[in-house]
Amino acid sequence: MRWLLLKDLRILRRSPLLVGLLVLYPVVIATLIGFALSRGPDKPQVAFVSEVPESAQEIELGGERIDVAQEAGPLFRAIDPVRVKTREEAISKVRSGDVLGAVVVPEDTTRKLQAGLEPAEIEVFYNAEDPVKASFVRDTIKSQVADANTALTERYAKVALTFLDLIATGGNYSFFGRDFEVLGLQRSEQILSEAQRGLETRSPAREQVASVIEFARLARENLDLSDDVLASVGTPIRVKQTQLEGGSTPLSSFAVAIAISVSLMFITLLLAAGALALEREENAFPRLVRGLVSRTGLLVEKAGLAAVCSMVVVLLMLAGLGLFVDLEWGRFPLWVAAAGMGALAFASMGLAVGTLTREVRAASLLCVMVSLPLTFLALVPSGSVAPLLYDVVRVVSALFPFKPTLSAMESALNDSGGIGVPLVHLAALFLAFGVASRLGLRRFAQR
């Protein structure tokens, strides 16, 4: 036992690459999973710009001055605000992926809040390229605006109820430094009742006063109910959402697109790489390429096999998922185009991986090791990492077929942008990996 252990340690010591991978791989995967599945950081980076002039930051409600900037405090506690100076700058940051979204407070916000005649409107911009990211921004902003609305509605209701109480029961009211005595409906009713008793029984004025008394009573009694009504209505702030790019992929369809793309990737990669590695494992490759099959022909056969098999599987998957998710079957030709081109690109990549290995098991392991990090990398939302790092993530993702396949599948499943660009992207990757595979085969038959 001891000698076996020593032997294994010696082998490990002589395999620094293997040891490095064994240690680094789980760390990298764990980090990427964290980025991809956390749906962004606790505090999403959101660009913020207020167009309200400094002099108009406060509103007065019921004699109480409210600083709008302070009211926005809870929002700033929920996000990581990136303060910018102009609306254009905010939009630009969303487009570039530096931030997850942007909040713009228009110039007339405080005026509308002060008047209370129409809701103030804040604008939210988000990038809809990634439905998860878009949903994350929407939910965060919506939640914070709902809180602000609740707080403001309470204040409006409190002020309104004070006025109503004044109208119903009367009292003192201060306006521009002067005190006013308000009679109120209750007191008016009492005064009118006393005045009515002084009138003759058959006097026409007595009947008219009686109707005014009745109105005052009814008004007072019904105003007592208005606090409930005021508490249940009122949306002082509305959110105007603007989608900058991408379509309107429902989250469920996005999940389907991810499921299809991941399945397509694994099936095609493993099949293509495994099938090619098998020729080497069985020592058949040299025999085949001695005039029986050309090397390019062999690659085409493996790519075709892997692509067709994986396409059949994912189309069956789509049919199954269609039972649970609303899919547009009229777009079936686009599904085939997206799955087909994605499968070819993955097959080409699988062949490139297959040329690196001598055994099926090694090819499979290599495929998993390569594809998993790339998948998670492609799902990292913008704004969750530093802008420079995100640019690197985008470049790396563009070099492999997962991201364009996901885009193509999204476009095929929903009208979430043109499918042409991702298909061309996949065609380019298919050719590039095809050339790499063909070059890889040159060393295949060497000892």
Binding site: N283, A284, L288, R290, G291, L292, Q446
Partner: protein, 271 residues
Amino acid sequence: MSLPPPGGATVQPAMSDPATAEHSTSEHKREASAAAVLRAEGLTKRYGDREALRDISLSAERGELVAIIGPNGAGKTTLLSILAGIQQPDSGSVSRAPREIGWVPQQAAVYGKLTVKENLELFARLEKVDDPAATVDRMLDLTSLRDRADDQVGELSGGNRQRVNIAVGLLGDQSVLLLDEPSAALDPRQRERVWEFVLSLAEAGTTVVYSTHNVQEAERHAQRVLVLADGELLFSGSPRELEDTVERERGAAGRGDFEAAFVAFLRQRGH
């Protein structure tokens, strides 16, 4: 004792540089040029700085059994790979195209998950033989594997797997067969069966060139041996002629013991 080469059958060392190798007679050279079914000229192969083969020339005739022997790393497999068209030489040429030569690699190049028959059918179709079914039938009879035709190759013994391997190499009905260590990793009984099969092919007119580590196998079955060391062809002739060469150089020692003669020959030449 090995038999002398049959009339006209010979394998020649480098023609361009006769001083680099020893050969039996000038008569053999002349005959070889006239009747060779396989000829290679000036084969050189480098792996980086290492020269795996250095200006090797040879020829073999119809029905001849030629053994390539030499120490590990001598270049035996590289030479066979180049003759088979698996690898390209850096310089030199082979007279036949790969498809005109049957090739049997050291490790069985057949699919373990396919049956014997399926393997033969697959390669017969890839070889584009006229009647694949008839060819497969013929190979099953030739290799005595008819009763195992429906067994997966992965379930066969090493000997039977090697027979399938050889059968696949013969599917194209080529007149030249190259075998790389055909009996390696086989037990004596399996080895015997493989050799019976190979000898029957040679008797039927197939030229067989094989590499082997087993010097006794070369002595017993080959009409010619090629001695390779460090990529150089040191000797070409019958096993008996190799013994004679050693005897001439160091007296009677080694006579009747081919392996001892072979080792002595290499030692005399600094290998």
